[in-house]
Symmetry: C2
Subunit: 142 residues, 2 copies
DNA sequence: ATACTTGCAAATCGTTTGCAATACC
DNA sequence: GGTATTGCAAACGATTTGCAAGTAT
């Protein structure tokens, strides 16, 4: 299942982000950015941990958390808050919004152009808009 | 500070929601729906607890949590998720969106009409839209 | 009287942290 | 070699839960 160029540009990518390309960071990058479902992945720490273990990658959950946070700070990931008490990380860092399936807890990108705010209200004085999140919460029918 | 009609329609409101109007539920309703800042309040459990204690209302934090959840289920409150690890409850149950001040963790309503989605993408097959949340994240300038 | 609520303390969940061992440059 | 990173286990903060005691109808 491993390709011929196992680490393509991932090492560079990590270095550019100011992160040492360690074994675990590389392996996780691979899952996140080149794995099944990339480039539009939405993972929780637990999920990624399970996936790593399933692929024979030995990483502690603490490292998963640390890595996800570092990647987020470095701009490689984006954190999405939809549920109290659980964080999702999105491999798509561009401007876009989300569908959230309430039943299964699954998150899905909405292509950037298909939601358009007609008018974003002016930010209150002394504040500036850092980001606009649109979450369309879905109920799954049987 | 207590008015002449201390419980106005709150008892009815609770009864209609299928909740017994107990001492603590009434007191909390009063803070939430008739207190300072009503009818547009955004509280965390901790905040409401502190406020209750400050007003001489003896309630346990567990009861605050249970009450907020019951009120939410009953449609008297709406839960807003903006930060990982902290839940806000909104006394405004109508359709509307929020400004979120990242520095202070303060939440503010945006009047319903001033944000308009130009086109809400169709829900994926087998799912229907339950709610659309728009959160405008603000950075406070100095 | 009966069923529902409350408070407390303990339990749980997701996440973070301290620190000794280990890997990277 | 020196610094950054990892893993483990303990610590944490927010929230939930079990159960005995109290309260509403």
């Amino acid at each position: 299942m491993s390709g011929t160029r196992p680490y393509s540009g991932l090492i560079e990518r990590l270095k550019n982000a100011g992160l040492r390309p360690t074994r675990q960071r590389l392996a996780l990058s691979r899952l996140l950015f080149e794995g099944e479902g990339a480039p539009d992945r939405h993972v929780t720490a637990e999920q990624l941990h399970g996936e790593a273990l399933g692929n024979g990658i030995r990483v502690s959950l603490a490292t998963i958390y640390n890595t996800l946070n570092q990647f987020t700070r470095a701009g490689l990931l984006r954190e999405v808050v939809v549920e109290p008490g659980r964080s999702y990380f999105d491999t798509n860092v561009d401007d876009h919004h989300h569908f959230f399936f309430e039943g299964s807890g699954r998150l899905m990108d909405i292509p950037g152009e298909s939601v358009q705010l007609q008018q974003v209200p002016a930010a209150p004085a002394g504040a500036k808009v850092r980001r606009v999140d649109v979450i369309i919460r879905l109920e799954e029918e049987e």
